[in-house]
Symmetry: C2
Subunit: 356 residues, 2 copies
């Protein structure tokens, strides 16, 4: 019996997670699911976005299915109490260093992209973002009086970007191994021309590459990568990069597909235990209206079955069902277009269940 | 008599700068121009990408017209000797803290964008990137043995992100003042949800905004900004951000227009002395072939006349001439399309001269 921690969170989180749970249940697998509050919902309930009980549940589970966190109404809280601290805390405490962010353009939704159809049709890239290092967690950080720089004596704020050799090695291995199962090409994105951290990154990725002669590696500066994603996204296969650059590039790539409401993500630890969540956010503006697209969360559940629960057939069944529902013309408002049938969150979930 | 330092640099730099110089000369203004090597060319000539003589010339001049630097062949050099150190050194030693990067989609070139025409037609956004602070120049940086983090005892590399109050204040003023002359809207891009530096940035930009009640301010996280640029770039007017985020976003925005070969840039100090350069790079692959687009450099010269040399009419004349040449259907290969006339670098420069 595998145990799944269900953390719905804020905004549209509860609605979309409910549909994914429905889909998981119909598969009739030996799964035990336990729900706990996270983010703003947890703050409201108990004064902290990641209560101990929630963290303990996540730690004891074999996998975590996560909705989304955040709402404008928490913007005024001190940083440690804000909803997004929950996701940072889960990454850190569970050691989820490898973030898989596929950017796939579904044939049926090509028109939804901002890009010309020929540039995105068939797009299938995988961004692997390091998730527990870099400037996200680097110490020291804070405020102080500047002792040097342009304005010695002035107030300043600072953060530390850092990567150690084993952190870079392990994410490089993840990227090369993932590339082996796909197009066999890795683009490592850095800013080695400016940053010590990313010169080190580039050197170590190059070293690790020696163990993967069957995979091609190239290096690209982050500014150029942002340009190439806009210009010719299909030229990429696997992109591997640090936490900060990965945050920016994976969101840009997701938006390129035009259907971010379709994109799942996985954040894995060294034993392939993972947290699974849609690539989109909590969308407080449409929360509770029953119009959110549950497919990214449903596809995240499929990723969970494949990566953490060793149930690849069940994952296939979900993914085929999602394909069938799209082919049948069902669309939530975010991906709707003339000639297709507009449905709500629950109808979409039901349709996937029926297709299974 | 104003003095201009002409720094052609590497790759296509010399070719495109030659055309801009030709255009400046035909305007018959009281300008004295002096040329010096920079980047790889300077390294070849004298062993350093930014020789003292070049830096002294740039310091003594009223403005700098810069081509481009860099070539793969210098990749193996130690970082301090690589071509791009010249541009970082010029920014630092000249105090060029305010980088203006317009992303404009010329009506005649709308089709060249990766984006659907309706999303970019009429696009006119201005990215103001802080250019002498942030993680680009923050000390300390280097390699060491980790004392904490995930792998204490391991080798690590690190950099310091930092911004002081006066650095943020002055770039915020630049942004609000620029917005006053255009759409009166500023979007400040940060990552305040994760970084101390950018919470400080956000707070201070908000404070400075109190002095500009006629300008609207909103705040956006950098990952969201990358998405919104892809989704609906026309929603932006002025974007202000730090050095690192600005590097990524300004290149992405430039590429969105589809005609990065058309985009000038200015980097200004506190007295509006500036360095002007095309937004694109040195393109070593097409160097010496006479096919590079000189228009971004010619338009950079126009920006120079307007911002640093107080010659707005002359700037207007250049910009109108460029418009006329485009309307006449002349195109270098990078912006060529069916039904227009393909011309080389020199022919394009000559056409602008004739249109003036
Ligand atoms: C909410 C925020 C802290 C988070 C991040 O920056 O990692 C989010 O943008 C993401 O990508 O999951
Ligand atoms: C060459 C490099 C150091 C530079 C930067 O990162 O600033 C370039 O990308 C730019 O934007 O001018």
């Amino acid at each position: 019996m595998a145990k799944i921690a269900i953390l719905p969170g804020d905004g549209i989180g509860p609605e979309i997670v409910a549909e994914a749970v429905k889909v998981l249940k119909v598969l009739d697998l030996p799964l035990e699911m336990e729900t706990a509050p996270v983010g703003g919902a947890a703050y409201e309930a108990s004064g902290h976005p990641l209560p101990d009980a929630t963290l303990d549940l996540a730690k004891s589970a074999d996998a975590v299915l996560f909705g989304a966190v955040g709402d404008w109404k928490y913007d005024k809280l001190d940083r440690p109490l804000r909803p997004e601290q929950a996701i940072l805390g889960l990454r850190k405490h569970l050691g989820l260093f490898a973030n898989f962010r596929p950017a796939i353009c579904y044939e049926q939704l090509t028109h939804a992209s901002s890009l010309k159809p020929e540039l995105v049709s068939g797009l299938d890239i995988l961004i692997i973002r390091e998730l527990t290092g870099d400037i996200y967690f680097g110490q020291p950080r804070g405020r102080r009086t500047a002792v040097d720089g342009h304005f010695p004596g002035a107030d300043e704020a600072f953060d530390t970007m850092r990567y150690s050799r084993p952190e870079i090695e392990r994410i490089a291995h993840v990227a090369f191994q993932a590339a082996r199962k796909r197009g066999k090409r890795v683009t490592s994105v850095d800013k080695a021309n400016v940053l010590e951290t990313f010169q080190f990154w580039k050197d170590i990725v190059t070293e690790v590459h020696a163990q993967y002669p069957d995979v091609a590696l190239d290096h690209m500066y982050v500014d150029n990568a942002a340009m190439q994603l806009v210009k010719a996204p299909k030229k990429f296969d696997v992109i591997v990069t640090g936490n900060m650059f990965g945050d920016i590039l994976s969101d840009a790539a997701a938006m390129l597909t035009g259907s971010i409401g379709m994109l799942p993500s996985a954040s894995l630890d060294k034993n392939n235990k993972g947290l699974y969540e849609p690539s989109h956010g909590s969308a407080p503006d449409i929360a509770g209206k029953g119009v959110a697209n549950p497919l990214a969360t449903i596809l995240s559940a499929a990723m969970m079955l494949r990566f953490s629960l060793n149930q690849p057939q069940a994952a296939d069944r979900i993914e085929s069902a999602v394909g069938a529902v799209l082919s049948a013309g069902l669309r939530t408002p975010d991906i709707w277009s003339e000639g297709t049938q507009k449905v709500g969150t629950r109808e979409m979930g039901d349709a996937v269940v029926n297709a299974i």
